[in-house]
């Protein structure tokens, strides 16, 4: 970008001319994913309102994403904004962008440590999200007065750093309450149907009295867990029933919290991060030199504060 300002670090300067006339190539999650669809809408609208041109190269396929980033580099835009469907396959494209002098902003999941320094980042605090899930479970089980409990976790796609980061923090936090034991961690692949199927099998394997708590990594994974628990004849929530928590709040999750089925969730809703990412881009082009890495604040949501987040979480 043609700009002024003294480049302090190695953050490429966006300049101070604002967004007008700037081209942004956007390789986000595809519109066939609800989270992505909402993010894309908010993000694109906000930047276009500022006069930027957003070239939509979104996809849900990791291989296509690599190609689209390469395409974006060749388009020589003022900025590439991308999400990492597959962390490791994005290493080389990021390096190429650096060579070509095209700045890259990564949102949502963090990049591979090899290229951590080569990109700007607006990432969700996945460790906070994982920790929130553990906190919810511990709180819920303690409220029921459980001396001990067995817990299952059904995760997002295990190969993504998002899942790995969350799981690590979740396990760490659970370790602080050793009376509650995580007995199964299964890969639910961000797939509601698969998650429900796994849950059904796990309830059969351990029986209702063998599982006291469950973590579904997204609301749309936790709800099938609740449904399958009910189908297996297990009590859910209440004074003695199964405590279920999740993250990635969605409208259906908020409703389930309000109905008392779901103990809690965490934010990481697409609207918040979309706004913050767009904001980052605006600041970047205004020459405000935002910090290289920004972490979106994630919140724990339970029945106690659900009203506060109902609006924020009801977008998808």
């Amino acid at each position: 970008g043609g700009g002024s300002s003294s480049d302090g670090g190695d953050t490429p300067a966006g300049g101070s001319g604002g967004l007008k006339g700037k081209t942004i190539n956007f390789v986000g999650y595809g519109n066939d994913n609800p989270w992505g669809a909402y993010f894309n809408g908010v993000f694109t609208k906000k930047l276009e309102a500022e006069g930027a041109k957003v070239v939509d190269l979104t996809t849900m396929d990791p291989g296509t994403a690599v190609q689209n980033v390469n395409q974006a580099i060749s388009n020589k835009p003022d900025l590439i904004v991308t999400a990492l469907l597959d962390t490791s396959s994005m290493v080389v494209p990021i390096k190429k962008a650096k060579q070509a002098g095209v700045p890259v902003l990564v949102f949502d999941g963090r990049p591979d440590p090899q290229v951590d320094d080569d990109v700007m980042q607006v990432i969700s605090d996945n460790e906070a999200v994982g920790k929130a899930a553990a906190d919810n479970l511990i709180e819920g089980l303690k409220a029921q007065g459980k001396e001990s409990a067995k817990i299952i976790a059904i995760t997002g796609t295990k190969s993504s750093l998002v899942t790995q980061d969350r799981l690590k923090a979740f396990d760490q936090q659970m370790a602080t309450a050793p009376q509650y034991e995580v007995i199964e961690t299964q890969d639910g692949n961000w797939d509601p149907t698969l998650s429900g199927k796994i849950a059904t099998q796990l309830f059969a394997k351990y029986g209702c009295d063998g599982i006291q708590g469950a973590y579904g990594m997204a609301d749309y994974q936790a709800l099938p867990i609740i449904a399958s628990a009910k189908q297996a004849g297990c009590e859910v929530a209440g004074d003695t029933g199964l405590v279920v928590t999740s993250s990635n709040c969605f409208k259906a999750g908020i409703e389930a919290i309000q109905a008392g089925d779901l103990y809690g969730t965490a934010t990481e809703d697409p609207g918040t991060i979309a706004n913050q990412t767009a904001d980052y881009v605006i600041r970047y082009f205004d020459g405000a030199k935002p910090p290289k890495k920004e972490v979106v604040k994630e919140e724990r949501v339970t029945a106690a504060n659900v009203a506060e987040f109902a609006a924020q979480c009801s977008n998808a």
Partner: protein
């Protein structure tokens, strides 16, 4: 080449598909504000390279009158093996992947040819089993390929428009075209796809050819998977069903018939390039992805219609109804080739 040979489906379908997409590509500047960059061509070939070998593998089995659904399973397994066995040496990785692909093809070919089972259910089962195997090999995780020099090498720009990966893929299409064009295999492959009994009577070694086709299919798919993993620097245990559907669409757009006996590697190349060009057009024009899907749907519906026998009969009937033909001297000629025998 005579004009009449261009109007046959095996040339006409890929010509139309490729022609449409090339025009759409050439007109890009008309509906986007950017011109066509050489990189757009490069990226088209990259997209082509991603699924090209799978489409070739599937297409070859379709020409032989079979339908190898397992190609995407082999593709995933090949990619995973190449990464896991090839961390130190890419050659070992490729060898292991290709060897596994050959073994899978051999077993499937023997079962299908030996027991004379329709290939669709067998290869569907293998497809499911291979996805499971790949996933259990990697614990369901994506595996990173840490040999970055290989990753850089396979995708470096060669001759402006190509990368080693797309050149290898193009080369294999060329090899297939050459082999099938100048040797007896091409003829015999189409023969066993067209009429297996007649081929057997004529003296074609049908079973060997079927087994060989499946081995080739396994090798090509596994190699395609290996190249993709090297290029991405990681192997994904679950490619989903999209590659299978796209490869099938590419083969069909390449003029191959599901009924067998029709198609050439060059046609397949055309079909696959059409798919890649379309993807590139959609990317460059930043159209929503669902537009691509509607476009594929439209192209495939055209193919379905061209190939539907009773629809053709209906058209003949309608034409007869509207315009009773003047009595013509009958001959033994049968222009439609639709014999009732």
């Amino acid at each position: 080449m005579r004009l009449s040979s261009l109007t046959r489906p095996e040339s006409l379908v890929p010509l139309v598909a490729l022609g449409t997409t090339v025009v759409a590509f050439a007109l890009l500047p008309a509906y986007t504000d950017s011109g066509i960059a050489s990189f757009d061509v490069y990226n088209t070939f990259q997209i082509f390279a991603r699924l090209g070998l799978v489409a070739l593998a599937l297409g070859l089995t379709m020409i032989a009158g079979e339908f190898d659904l397992s190609v995407v399973g082999t593709y995933a397994l090949g990619g995973m093996l190449a990464v896991q066995a090839g961390q130190d040496s890419w050659a070992t990785g490729v060898l292991v992947a290709v060897g596994a692909g050959a073994a899978i093809g051999l077993v499937q070919g023997l079962v299908i040819a030996g027991l004379k089972i329709p290939s669709m259910p067998v290869t569907l089962a293998t497809y499911i089993a291979l996805l499971g195997l790949t996933s259990s090999l990697s614990d369901g995780l994506s595996k990173t390929y840490s040999n970055a020099s290989v990753t850089l090498w396979v995708d470096q720009t060669v001759l402006t428009f190509f990368s080693p990966r797309s050149l290898i893929t193009l080369g294999l299409f060329g090899v297939a075209a050459l082999v099938l064009g100048v040797s007896r295999w091409g003829r015999e492959l189409r023969a066993i796809g067209g009429d297996r009994r007649a081929s057997r009577v004529a003296g074609v070694r049908v079973d060997r050819l079927v087994v060989g086709t499946f081995v080739a299919s396994g090798v090509l798919s596994a190699l395609g998977g290996a190249l993709l993993s090297f290029s991405l620097g990681s192997a994904n245990p679950d490619p989903g069903v999209q590659p299978l559907i796209l490869a099938a669409a590419a083969a069909l757009l390449g003029g191959v018939s599901l009924a067998g006996g029709r198609g050439t590697p060059i046609g397949l190349l055309g079909g696959m390039l059409a798919v890649a060009l379309l993807a590139e057009v959609v990317t460059v024009a930043a159209l929503p992805a669902y537009v691509t899907q509607l476009f594929y749907a439209a192209l495939l519906v055209v193919i379905v219609v061209i190939d539907a026998p009773d629809l053709r009969n209906g058209l003949v009937r309608a034409r007869t109804r509207l315009r009773p033909p003047a009595p013509t001297a009958p001959s033994t000629r049968n222009d439609t080739g639709a014999l009732h025998a």
